[in-house]
């Protein structure tokens, strides 16, 4: 039974390599994209942290800035 699944009538090497390549490509793209997102979120948090009180208050007026900070705090 397991041999049938692995060998696939002699086409196992082709089928498994095609599926493996696809899944490896997906995993790589997911983690590269995730790493880029985390890097930008951390950059935003560090820049926001270096603002003075007046600048921080101005930046906080924008909803999107508050959302980014909220997501960054969950990292």
């Amino acid at each position: 039974m397991i041999n049938d699944v692995i060998l696939m009538n002699g086409y196992g090497a082709y089928v498994w390599s095609a599926f493996s390549f696809t899944l490896i490509s997906f995993t790589t793209l997911y983690f590269v994209t995730k790493a880029q997102l985390l890097k930008e979120q951390k950059r935003f948090a560090s820049k926001f942290g270096s603002l003075n009180e007046q600048q921080a208050r101005t930046a906080s007026l924008q909803n999107i800035n508050r959302e980014i900070l909220l997501n960054t705090s969950k990292i």
């Binding site: 699944v5 696939m8 009538n9 086409y11 082709y14 095609a18 490509s25 997906f26 997911y30 101005t58």
Partner: protein, 235 residues
């Protein structure tokens, strides 16, 4: 109408959506893989080699769909002068490129047992390779050019020029004699693929579409945060 799609308004949704899309993608992918690898029948001619279809065909469909979207968004960017269109296009391109590469590589792997060769310079395969080159140029242009106005113009031109290749890919098997088989699935007429193979194909297509949505959302959020980072510099 576009005011409802302004980044500031939709970020609250796009920042929360990825975790739900990831969950849905994993569920649909597991069902799709079980169907594609174990439950669907083998082909009477190709035997188990036909299972490669379940990754090759959805990858090709989605890479073509994403490139067509890039072209439409680029036209929209020119007509409406809306920079958000360029941001959406930039976020869609990476997954489109990966799907294109997956379609080429899995097609090559499928070619060996069915045609006896890894590669042939036939119309369908060559036009898909040209699409990969257009994707490559598109992504490279975003990296090379720093001036925002200039890069939007150049990438839009690449997407619009590359879109000429999309119908060529679609009709290449009708217009030329190729090794590639004729289309088996047609929305407007009868499809020659049995329902037992159409179901896993549909599930895998849904899984791939969810994955491209997931990557798009993550990339779009990254681009929005980059814009906001520049905004903080100006304070």
């Amino acid at each position: 109408m576009f005011k409802y799609f302004e980044p500031n308004k939709i970020f609250a949704i796009t920042s929360k959506a990825p975790k739900y899309v990831l969950f849905l993608f994993v569920v649909v992918l597991v069902i799709g893989l079980s169907e594609a690898l174990f439950l669907s029948p083998e082909d009477y001619k190709q035997s188990d080699a036909v299972r490669i279809m379940y990754v090759h065909v959805p990858a090709a469909w989605i890479s073509l769909g994403i490139f067509s979207s890039l072209a439409f968004l680029s036209v929209g960017s020119f007509v409406f002068k809306n920079k958000n269109f360029a941001l959406i296009s930039k976020s869609l391109a990476p997954s489109g490129f990966v799907f294109n590469i997956v379609a080429l590589i899995t097609g090559s792997i499928w070619g060996k047992p069915t045609w006896g060769t890894w590669w042939a310079w036939d119309a369908r395969i060559t036009s898909m390779l040209i699409l990969a080159l257009f994707y490559g140029m598109y992504l490279l242009a975003w990296r090379i050019y720093e001036d925002k106005e200039q890069v939007i113009k150049i990438t839009s031109m690449i997407a619009i020029l590359g879109a000429i290749n999309v119908p060529i890919i679609k009709y290449s098997v009708d217009w030329w004699n190729t090794l590639h088989q004729m289309p088996s699935i047609n929305v407007l007429s009868n499809t020659s693929v049995h329902i037992s193979m159409l179901i896993p194909l549909g599930i895998m297509t849904a899984a791939f579409a969810l994955f491209s949505l997931l990557i798009f959302l993550m990339k779009y959020n990254t681009e929005l945060i980059k814009v906001k980072n520049k905004g903080l510099d100006r304070l």
